[in-house]
């Protein structure tokens, strides 16, 4: 199994270099397809998504670029280059869009797994201290302040993790991947037009049904978009 994994990593690395070469030659659409192919094979890394986003942007696909940057940010949220590129690409987008709020940005500085690991470590440490207090009561006065601190940190970290998880599992964002997409009042092709959205618009997902995604555009309006014209990402 280890050998197979090594072979797969080597293949991905070779494909990645080939896609980078296409990008360097200015064949951005080809490069984007090459990166996409690697992603479809099951491989995933922040650099791969970052480069895919760069290629999509250079190929003129604003929405696909934003979606890829956001996927990369979920894996590597503290990458300054990634944040700079995402901010730059977002600035190119005109029209209504929904951006992360301050608290969502703050929560996004850690991945969900990092948050889970941090909380687990704090929880285990707290439990270890509480067990030590049971086994050696003489340690209780010495461990009092550190135990309190760890209990507070564990609860805080747990609360943050809960909000982070709720944001990840209960909210979703749709990134529009085509220009001037019509949002309709119902999930039907002949439903009334409510508003139109531009390529790269980030919208809150309200519902998904039969190849349609219901979205809110942040100005109080909601409508249904064809699922094939948006990329749905977890988290608001």
């Amino acid at each position: 199994m280890l050998v197979a994994a090594n072979v797969f990593a080597a293949e991905v690395s070779a494909d990645f270099s080939a896609a980078n070469k296409l990008y360097a030659e200015g064949k951005f659409a080809d490069a984007a397809s090459a990166y996409e192919k690697i992603l479809q094979s099951g491989a995933q890394s922040p650099a791969l998504l970052f480069n895919d986003a760069n290629a999509e942007f250079k190929a003129g696909h604003l929405g696909k670029a934003i979606a890829a940057y956001r996927r990369a940010a979920q894996l590597s949220p503290r990458d300054a280059e990634l944040r700079a590129n995402l901010a730059f690409v977002r600035n190119q987008m005109a029209g209504a869009t929904v951006r992360e709020r301050f608290w969502q940005n703050w929560l996004g500085t850690l991945t969900l797994n990092e948050g889970a690991m941090l909380t687990a470590v704090l929880f285990w440490l707290t439990a270890a201290l509480l067990i030590a207090r049971q086994i050696r009561p003489a340690l209780v006065p010495k461990l009092k302040s550190v135990t309190r601190l760890l209990v507070v940190l564990t609860f805080f970290s747990g609360a943050v993790l809960a909000v982070q998880a709720a944001n990840h599992f209960l909210s979703a964002t749709a990134v529009v991947t085509a220009d001037n997409v019509t949002a309709r009042s119902g999930p039907f092709d002949d439903a009334q037009t409510v508003f139109t959205v531009r390529d790269g618009a980030e919208l809150s997902v309200l519902d998904q049904r039969d190849g349609w995604v219901q979205v809110a555009n942040g100005t109080g309006k909601s409508g249904w978009l064809p699922a094939k014209l948006v990329e749905v990402l977890p988290g608001a």
């Binding site: 990593a9 991905v12 690395s13 990645f16 980078n20 990008y23 360097a24 030659e25 200015g26 951005f28 099951g42 491989a43 995933q44 890394s45 922040p46 650099a47 791969l48 970052f50 480069n51 760069n54 290629a55 942007f57 250079k58 894996l75 300054a80 280059e81 700079a84 590129n85 901010a87 730059f88 690409v89 600035n91 969900l112 797994n113 889970a116 690991m117 687990a120 929880f123 285990w124 707290t126 439990a127 270890a128 509480l130 067990i131 049971q134 086994i135 009561p137 993790l161 998880a165 990840h168 599992f169």
Partner: protein
């Protein structure tokens, strides 16, 4: 009447009904347009009704465009009558008519083609009269129920300079209520006007002539956008005021409670206000001036200051002060040649309700392009201060930087990027792709949704409960000498039985009975809660606790004691006999431990 005849009669009546309805409708088809009044003052409104008799249009008819008039569709009303066999039906479409200026207007005759029928209405005349601000004498006389004043702080203003005009609504003290206040005309040609809003907590009462008025101030943010002689106003408004009822009939006592007042529509107007809008001076205009007008300060920070070539540095510039913050932009910094720059993001925090005072923050990402860069050059921002009529330039000192070479993995040079952003221009592009794939991350379900991860979190909880129970048991034992002795004796007996069997196997009779006697003493001492040395055969009959024990047990205990006594005098016994004694002892102690102490 038979059922057949009844059915026939009903059918005949229904047919007659529809025939009458149809013929009535066809015969009476007409289209008329009317106004509820043909003259009103600017700021008021009239109702236009388009009535169709005997026909049913599919939709409300469209109205012609008439310069200076605005039509707002309100909705339809319909009527139907059946009198002496004659039916008539009509539908009326109603529109609110408002005027943008005074003058004579003609609403032309309109045509409607309904089911092949050509219908036409007659043209209508409408006169809109001008409304003037009341004279000073009229105001001072106290006859004006309400009047409007416009105050502008400056008669000379620079183009781009913001100022807040003030509309003051004066309401006479006997006005009981004000409703439907609406600015009907607010000419601000040459100005960009913001949203008019009431200034909170600034209502006041003033004496005008011989009457007291309540003043309601409204703020109108204005920014001059054109130079030359400009005129603000006259502003006109309409409102409905409620005045005390003039009907003085009835009991004065009840009148004070039930006087609902009389509504009166008032039309208000201000005098026009002339403003001279000045152009910004050409003289001494800084090269990097981008149009900021006001009085500002600047604060800039940059970080991190130790980076590798290509790394992003965030430059945060805060422009604070008074002026049109919306129009403040960060000028291009020509001295940043050695940096790749990206369009800044902006955030504005207003400290007043008009957006004319506050802080605008620019956050710009730049990245050094070579390791020869040692500082972020000084940053400059210029503005024109209308208070002193001068240009000012703010300069933020250079920020020292430590820029390291990119090392063994230089940033890839991209042909396309180079073409798009020549060296001598300010580059505006995304940061380049990454050369290294990095660690592949499995596309797994997040940890918090994995049952194994969640189950693992139960381990410390279970460990804690185990430790907690252990601690409770230990504390319990430490605080209960009886229990401690019970456990010690139980252990002693367990070990002792093994030793007894060993002595029996080795046929060591003396050691066997000595140990047996001691074990009996220890076990009975523990049960009877007295020292082991005080235990003899006599306690079996004397102690109250043992009286509750089964007789067989007591007999067995007596027998064991007697065997111990006999062993001191009797000859050595065989191994089999000793073994059976050991088993008997084991059984007796097991039963004894069941006796409630």
């Amino acid at each position: 009447m038979s059922a057949i005849k009844m059915r026939f009669t009903l059918k005949t009546l229904a047919v007659l009904w529809f025939v009458a309805l149809f013929t009535g409708a066809v015969l009476a088809a007409s289209f008329t347009a009317s106004l509820d009044r043909d003259t009103f003052t600017l700021g008021e409104q009239a109702t236009l009704s388009l009535k169709f008799d005997g026909v049913q249009p599919q939709d409300a008819p469209g109205l012609p465009n008439i310069a200076g008039l605005q039509f707002q569709y309100v909705g339809p009303s319909s009527s139907f009558s059946f009198i002496n066999g004659q039916t008539s039906s009509s539908i009326t479409y109603n529109y609110i008519v408002t005027a943008q200026h005074d003058g004579e207007f003609t609403i032309p005759g309109m045509r409607a083609d309904i089911s092949g029928q050509q219908l036409a209405s007659a043209p209508l005349k409408l006169t809109v009269t001008k409304v003037d601000a009341p004279s000073a004498a009229a105001v001072n006389s106290g006859n004006e129920v309400a009047f409007l004043k416009f105050i502008f702080p400056k008669s000379k203003i620079y183009v781009g300079e913001p100022a807040v005009g003030r509309l003051e609504l004066y309401l006479r003290d006997d006005v009981q209520n004000l409703s439907n206040f609406q600015l009907t005309s607010s000419p601000t040609d040459g100005f960009s006007a913001g949203k008019t809003a009431e200034l909170q907590n600034q209502r006041r009462r003033v004496q005008v002539g011989n009457r007291v008025y309540t003043v309601i101030p409204l703020a109108m943010p204005l920014t001059a956008v054109r130079t030359g002689a400009l005129t603000l106003g006259p502003f006109t408004a309409s409102a409905v005021v409620v005045l005390p009822s003039q009907n003085q009939n009835g009991d004065p006592f009840f009148r004070q409670f039930f006087n609902q007042g009389e509504q009166q529509q008032v039309t208000l107007a201000t005098d026009p206000f002339n403003v001279n809008s000045l152009p910004l001076p050409e003289q001494n205009r800084p090269a990097n001036y981008t149009g900021a007008v006001g009085n500002f300060t600047m604060n800039a920070t940059a970080g991190p200051t130790t980076v590798t070539v290509g790394d992003p540095i965030t430059v945060r510039v805060q422009i604070s002060g008074r002026g049109a913050l919306d129009t403040v932009t960060l000028p291009p910094q020509d001295a940043w040649n050695n940096f790749k720059t990206f369009p800044p993001t902006t955030k504005q925090e207003n400290s007043d309700q008009f957006g004319y005072q506050g802080t605008k923050t620019f956050e710009q990402i730049i990245s050094p392009q070579n390791a020869d860069v040692h500082e972020l050059p000084e940053l400059t921002f210029s503005f024109f201060n209308p208070d002193d009529g001068q240009y000012h330039t703010l300069t933020q000192a250079a920020v020292p930087l430590v820029v390291k070479a990119a090392g063994t993995s230089p940033m890839p040079t991209l042909a396309a990027t180079k073409t798009a952003t020549p060296e001598n221009q300010t580059p505006q592009d995304i940061l380049p792709i990454k050369e290294n794939l990095g660690v592949l991350i499995p596309n797994n379900v997040p940890l918090v949704a994995q049952p194994v991860f969640l189950a693992a979190q139960a381990v410390p909880v279970l460990a804690f409960f185990a430790a907690f129970i252990w601690r409770k048991r230990t504390d319990n034992l430490a605080n209960n000498p009886r229990l401690r002795r019970q456990r010690t004796v139980a252990q002693l007996v367990r070990d002792g039985v093994n030793d007894l069997k060993k002595f029996a196997a080795e046929n060591k009779s003396d050691e066997f009975f000595a140990l047996l006697f001691r074990l009996l003493q220890e076990q009975l001492g523990e049960r009877l809660d007295c020292p082991a040395t005080a235990i003899t055969e006599n306690v079996i009959d004397e102690h109250a606790i043992l009286r509750r024990a089964p007789k067989a047990l007591l007999d067995s205990l007596r027998e064991l004691f007697q065997l111990c006594n006999q062993a001191r005098y009797a000859p050595v016994r065989g191994a089999g006999e000793l073994n059976s004694v050991a088993i008997k002892f084991e059984k007796a102690t097991a039963e004894l431990q069941e006796v409630k102490a």
